[in-house]
Each structure stands twice: as structure tokens, then as C-alpha cells.
């Protein structure tokens, strides 16, 4: 009788276990420090490189010569080591790992805090730091404290213009920014079956904003069918009765469009309460909301109209971009006045491609609105894709209309 984390890690909550990791990935940012730490350990040994990935996404293409030189060294190393490597323009690490790489039941670590995103597949996936990752490069294993689990019971289905992002932000505000520190979240209940894989990825992605190690969904028919599209044959995971340290129930039909206001992800207000606030920039993308379904939904709302403020759309991966080209979504976005960025993190971390100026306001579909994150003095509101589209058209924060 165990939680999904306990089953995958093979221990009881509170126990420390050493585990082989099935997948370990770094990006162009954390890869630099990982390589440095790995070299300092003084071994030239790498564990089985078929389990290691290096995925360039944070500052791609490089914004200056310092970044370019660091990336050059890392790229040469990745190529020489024969680990799974994706270069500039391929997409965000978590997104690439979600396109048929990570499978249910696996133990996954990423040198990035949003590695919890892959919990959507029923994998135990969590973030580690660069030095931890260097140890994993060396040995293929690491230690975990098996987390206690908070059970989030979902029921009903979305109504109106509410979407998974609104649910995820509501969930963060209910738990608080450290409500789940050291713990895992498990999303269960009758409301889960109606959530697409993309919806689940949003919920798992934002789990870390409550301090959680990861946010898990049991693999079900939706997971099986999604992975089958990448040629992966997997079995559903059947939940068994288990003990949660805390439980929360959310009825999806009660979720309304919300935004997280500066500078905390857990400070959430209904869009209607702050509607009318002028914005300088709208940003659609990231490992939260840069998937094809997000771009398509945004395009459906802005198609045939013109955005009123600068609107930056960054597809989460090359596959997302290719699909948006194939279906005409990209044309609709460009025709409506959107600027399209290279697949990757875009301006999410404030390094390039849409940095905010002092006092500028951005409505973003990302997951963090920390002070100065997108540029010194920039002010970030986090919302759904539908809220972003409605706001882009009006040039101010705007409650989205029903669009299904």
C-alpha cells in the first residue's frame, strides 16, 4: 500500500534510498557547472551515456561571446561523450524529455528545478543541482529521501474559459509557496481522466512552486495513447490505497481564470479583479505553456485580429514549431502581429529575447514572477494562454471569453 513515489523509489516516506537513475539531463546553463564539478572530481569516467542528455535551451542562440564560448566547450564535450545532445533551436529540456523519452515508472533527474514536469508521466522526476549531477554522471546513481505525499483530488471538468494553468495557479495558492516542501504531490480522482497530457504537464510543472519534489499522475489511457504516438508501448499504473500526509479537493468546474500577481506565484487573483491593468508585453511560451495546443489556442483567439501590444511567442520545441507551421497556426500568429522566437526558454529567465525594462508590465504564461526575473524593474503577471490572448488583443489584462 504505497504512494506512487514510494512505489517507484522502493522505500517508505522518510527513508533515504540510493537509486540508479534512468534519465539524467542538464541544459546549457547548469551543464557548465556540472562539467566543471565533474572535472574537479578528477575522473574521466562517465556512467552509461545512453541515460544522459544535454539539451541546449536557456540562452539559445547565444546572446554574447561569453555565453557562446561556454556553450562551445559544453557542446564539444557532449558530442565527444556521445550523450544524447540537442542543440540551439531544438527546444526546452523538459519538453524534449516529454516527447517520448521519459516513461512511466522511471527515476528521472534534471539539473533544473522544473524537472518535476515529467511527473505527468508517472515517473519520479525531480530537480538536482549541478554538483549532484556531476556525481550522477560519474556513478549513474544518487540518494533520495522518499517524500511524504499530498493527495490532490480532482473532480468535475473545466467550465467557461478556465484551463489547466488556472487550476495549477489555484493549487499553488491553496498550498502556498512552501506548502509542499520536501513532499510530493499526487493528482488523483475522477477529474484526471478528462485532462490531456498537455494539461497534466502544466500541473506537474507548477508543482515545484509549492516547494514539492515532484507532482505525479498515474499513467492511464491518456498517457499510453500519448506515448504510443512516439512509438513507446507502456502499461497504465493502477493506484492502490495509500496514506497521504495531507489531502486537498478541487472541483474543476469551480476554477475561474486567475493570474499570479507580483512577486509571488502563490498570490493569485481572479482575472476579473485586476482586469484593465495596462501591459507592455505578452509572452506565450516556456515549459509551462509553450506546447502546440497552447499556440493553437492562442492563435484561435487572435486569428484575423491584431494584437495591441508587443507579443512574443516562443514554441517549446522544434516539434511544436513544425506542427504550428504545418497547421497554419504560425501564419495566424504572425498575421496577428506576434513575434516568434527560437524554440527554447525565450525571455523566461530574463537573459535575452524579450527582457523587460524598468517599470514595464508583462503578462506571461510562464511559471515564475519573482522580482526582476525578466529584467530589473520588470513586473510579471502569470496567467493562462486564453488570458494572455485576450490581454494581447486589448493591451490590458483582460478576462478571456469562452473558447473551446
Amino acid at each position: 500500500m504505497a504512494t506512487l513515489s514510494e512505489r517507484i523509489l522502493g522505500g517508505n516516506a522518510g527513508e533515504y534510498v540510493d537509486r540508479k537513475v534512468d534519465r539524467a539531463y542538464v541544459h546549457d546553463g547548469t551543464g557548465v557547472l556540472t562539467l566543471e564539478a565533474w572535472k574537479r572530481i578528477g575522473s574521466d569516467r562517465l556512467t552509461d551515456t545512453t541515460r544522459l542528455s544535454m539539451l541546449f535551451d536557456h540562452i539559445v542562440p547565444a546572446n554574447n561571446s561569453t555565453t557562446a564560448t561556454l556553450q562551445h566547450e559544453l557542446r564539444e564535450f557532449a558530442r565527444g561523450s556521445f550523450m544524447h545532445f540537442t542543440d540551439v533551436g531544438c527546444g526546452i529540456c523538459h519538453q524534449i524529455m516529454s516527447e517520448g523519452v521519459v516513461l512511466p515508472g522511471e527515476v528521472v533527474v534534471g539539473a533544473d528545478s522544473h524537472s518535476c514536469t515529467l511527473g505527468a508521466f508517472g515517473a519520479f522526476s525531480t530537480g538536482v543541482g549541478a554538483t549532484d549531477m556531476a556525481g550522477i554522471w560519474l556513478t549513474g546513481e544518487t540518494w533520495f529521501r522518499v517524500p511524504e505525499t499530498i493527495g490532490i483530488h480532482l473532480s468535475g471538468s473545466f467550465t467557461g474559459a478556465a484551463e489547466a494553468k488556472d487550476l495549477a495557479l489555484t493549487c499553488v495558492s491553496r498550498l502556498g509557496m512552501d506548502g509542499a516542501t520536501y513532499k510530493a504531490l499526487e493528482f488523483i480522482g475522477s477529474g484526471v481522466a478528462g485532462l490531456s497530457m498537455d494539461d497534466r504537464l502544466v500541473l506537474s510543472n507548477l508543482s515545484v512552486e509549492t516547494g514539492a519534489k515532484t507532482g505525479l499522475f498515474y499513467a492511464d489511457d491518456v498517457t499510453v495513447q500519448y506515448l504510443a504516438r512516439s512509438g513507446q508501448v507502456v502499461q497504465p499504473q493502477v493506484p492502490e490505497p495509500c496514506t497521504y500526509v495531507e489531502e486537498l479537493s478541487i472541483d474543476l468546474s469551480e476554477i475561474v481564470p486567475v493570474v499570479a500577481v507580483p512577486h509571488r506565484v502563490d498570490t493569485v487573483k481572479p482575472v476579473r479583479e485586476i482586469a484593465g491593468l495596462p501591459v507592455d508585453q505578452v509572452f506565450v511560451g516556456t515549459c509551462t505553456n509553450g506546447r502546440y495546443s497552447d499556440l493553437a489556442r492562442f492563435a484561435r483567439i487572435v486569428k484575423g485580429k491584431s494584437v495591441a501590444v508587443r507579443t512574443i511567442v516562443v514554441p517549446a520545441s522544434k516539434a511544436v514549431l513544425a506542427e504550428a507551421i504545418r497547421t497554419g497556426v504560425l501564419t495566424d500568429l504572425v498575421d496577428a502581429g506576434c513575434t516568434i522566437g527560437t524554440p527554447g526558454c525565450g525571455p523566461c529567465l530574463g537573459a535575452h529575447m524579450g527582457v523587460l525594462g524598468e517599470g514595464e508590465v508583462c503578462l506571461s504564461t510562464a511559471n515564475r514572477n519573482f522580482k526582476n526575473r525578466m529584467g530589473v524593474g520588470g513586473i510579471i503577471y502569470l496567467g493562462s494562454v486564453a488570458t494572455a490572448a485576450a490581454s494581447a488583443l486589448e493591451g490590458e489584462i483582460t478576462e478571456p471569453e469562452v473558447c473551446r
Binding site: 575522473s43 540562452i59 528545478s113 543541482g129 549541478a130 556531476a134 512552501d178 530574463g350 526582476n372
Partner: protein
Amino acid sequence: MKGKGPAVCVGPDIDTDLVIAGRYLRTKDHSVWVEHVFEDLDPSLAPLLKGSVIVAGKNFGCGSSREQAAVAIREAGVVAVVAPSFARIFFRNAINVGLPLIECDLTCTEGCLVAFDLTEGWVEAEGKKHTIHPLSPRMQAILSAGGLVEYWRNKR
């Protein structure tokens, strides 16, 4: 493992963007991080850090997994960080780079002496001794080696 130093007080939910901003990450030069540590929180903090013990509110180190945050604090000369709770990736990172963390809810008085002994499991401030949870044996071993790199070097 023991240590002591004057307290530098910071609030709750200090995220790693506030410890070291994203715009300073793309370098291997640790002195850049030391120079800009806590800049977006309070630029007057950096000169106080050498030899100090940071006493923080809950959930210290939340947000981005950037290890530069722990490195910046350690290299600024901070002896230890005390907080009622730490974000978990920051917790691992700090231990891995050899920065002692102490889980304890201390009332912070700027500059007052904070002393601790991690092996014996206590922290003392303003004449009051608090018992603390010991770290796991593995974490103690990593910390006393000086960090994970040294831990693995010794094991080879």
C-alpha cells in the same frame, strides 16, 4: 562540525533569483557571484557577509535550481545559514558545495552571535541553546569532506 559568527537577518521565502540574479549566471568566475550576491534583495548586505551566519525566514532558497546561489553565499564567507526550512534543491546544493545549513526557527537580532555544533546537534543565539535535527550520515560525510566533489575525490 562547529562554527560561529554574527547574525545577518533576512526574511522568509528568499528565492535564488534574489540570491544571485539570472543576469550574472553565465560565467565560471565565482567572484562575479560574490560581488552581486543578494544585490536584488538588498545591496548593502554583501559587505556584511564575511564570517557571518545568515539567519533567514522559512523556505530559504526556493525557486530556480541554480547552484551559483549556494556557491555565492559560501564564497562570500558565510559560515552557515539558519532557517526554519529550506527549499529542497537549495538544501542539496548547499551540502554539495560545503555550506552548512541549520534547520531552526531563530528570532534574528542583527549582529548578535550565533554559534552551532552540527555533530552535537545544537545552535545557540542570545544565550539560548536550541536542539536541531542532525543531518543524515551521508550529508554529514559530504559536508565534512568539504562538499560532494571532495567526497567523490576521496572515494576514488
